[in-house]
Symmetry: C2
Subunit: 378 residues, 2 copies
Amino acid sequence: MDFYSFIKKDKSCKARRGVIHTAHGDIQAPFFMPVGTKATVKTLSQEDLREMGSEIELSNTYHLFLRPGLDIIGKAGGLHKFMSWERAILTDSGGYQVFSLTDWRKLSDEGVEFQSHLDGLKHFLTPERVMDIQAVFGSDMVMPLDECSPYPCEREPAAEAVRRTTMWARRTKEHFLKTGMDKKGQRLFSIVQGSSYRDLREQSARELIALDTDGYAIGGVSVGEPVKEMFEVLSWVVDMLPQDKPRYFMGIGMPDQIVKAVGMGIDMFDTVIPTRYGRYGTCFTDRGTVVIRNGQFKEDFGPLDPECDCVACKNYSRAYIRHLFNAGEVLGLRLAAYHNVRYYVKLMRRIREAIEQDGYDDFQKAFFLKYGSEFTTS
Amino acid sequence: MDFYSFIKKDKSCKARRGVIHTAHGDIQAPFFMPVGTKATVKTLSQEDLREMGSEIELSNTYHLFLRPGLDIIGKAGGLHKFMSWERAILTDSGGYQVFSLTDWRKLSDEGVEFQSHLDGLKHFLTPERVMDIQAVFGSDMVMPLDECSPYPCEREPAAEAVRRTTMWARRTKEHFLKTGMDKKGQRLFSIVQGSSYRDLREQSARELIALDTDGYAIGGVSVGEPVKEMFEVLSWVVDMLPQDKPRYFMGIGMPDQIVKAVGMGIDMFDTVIPTRYGRYGTCFTDRGTVVIRNGQFKEDFGPLDPECDCVACKNYSRAYIRHLFNAGEVLGLRLAAYHNVRYYVKLMRRIREAIEQDGYDDFQKAFFLKYGSEFTTS
């Protein structure tokens, strides 16, 4: 069976409906991947994720490579067994964390040497090593080592990052095939770089498309650039990408950003926003965010989000959840994170339904209006 | 209907089987009350407590009085509604916390003035005020303001504490009846004090029995005294207490202490041990504790407790839970606390079944042996 089945394009815009097939079940696209950095989506359990209908989770190679380490995950029989998650898993390459979390790193064409942010020990990651790690994880979707340009970035280092990213992607695919990862049902993505330079972005996309990977990610976005610029980058690249492969907009975003990116043809999303915002007491609704610590909710015995049917909204009040946050109680973080992740998962289902009915353009217009978004669908 | 229905005494020892009837459901006794100090059992949800079969939870008047405050709980319609827990609730009087948590307090026969440990503001609690607070809470079982002696305690202040505790209990009952709390289905306990002085303990019990409250608690235990002494105090008092009323051994204890106290005729328990130990990674099993952070569990892919069928034990491994603790992830605390509270709740069910079969003496002997307890049933 193909990895990605394209079902249909919405007649009113570029939004796509598809399905990804993995050894750990199908994932209806477009979809959101809750982020379980250290093999756990912060404050939530795997039962919670199943209950809210998530068909996939994402974990971070960098963090798991350092702790608990490859040895333990290997002995557990892979990441699915280690964390008791029998549905699909995508793991990133660790490249982004090496560039954003470490104090010291040394980059060469061979790979990247870095000091662990945990204990200062030095490690060396190469494109091949990153594949070997994800082979042990047994991730359904694997990402190659890439060089993520910071923002802003001069043209010369951005071009150099594209060159290295393509070269590494080639070595990655060769190693991926040579070691038989494809035969074990794993699927390889590649990552378009090029900072905010249109020709570099297009060059990166062309080179990776020629390499024919199973899916395509747009990386080096949401790294500090204005939102408008981020969507400009997306607009340059997204139409170049093959119709018959999934498209992943990495690390995006706020609910209205996801809605917008789907309308431009994106299938896959991941972001820590729902869990991170939840831990600080900010909850998502169609009418924008609810900052639950605010005094206005002191005696508000209504639900967090009146339009939501999750356990946090059905069973608890704003006043109670506010009290939990004020008292420093874990259940507060848990309920807020539960609602937020569930909000994202359910938003994707609503998005898919709108596309099925060729009503996505209306859906996003109505969404932006109610959410108070800066976007329009012009 | 009576508050407490005595079902039977075990033929092999003094263990009792009974049922408590409340406006929020029956509670099969002997039972354990998970402690939700601030209207939440730390890291767990009310759904978790229902799922594990707890028929009651305990909350702390002192903490809830200070935050969120009486006003908000009153406007919510009481504590059950505020925290979304439709089963039974027992609230303590706040007395113990006033004596253990505050830096400054002034005790008189009228009541106790204290400074909040949160903001230093002064408050005044009297026996009557403590009832009024718990009337607003709507707790199914309410505790009177008492004076809890520290350990060790000279005879004179211990005698004074007994005098004041009895006087306050009388004023409490009068106010409880006058304000019609009994008519709203609330039930009043009294608390036996007297430190480690047998005659004072007996005097306290006699005076409170004459007052005829709905249930009897033994307080001023587990305050730093040796375990042997704690059970000596229990042995002096427990047989004096009426057969047709529930008996509550306050703030006790480790699993083997609960098993022992049931064998001496106790019906009710509360302790933060399962949640507190859980948060530090210590898990209870019939074979004693498992300290999950220990290196020996690094590659142990078996369950936390092989004899347990809770979600933490069925779905996750020791190696994974250890990883969560090492990585500082909330799910670790949550799984350990879930297992521990469920272990206590299930232990009480096993205790009740043993009593029903007149096999409690054998049960506790076998339990102490397997647990490696210091106790014997001599």
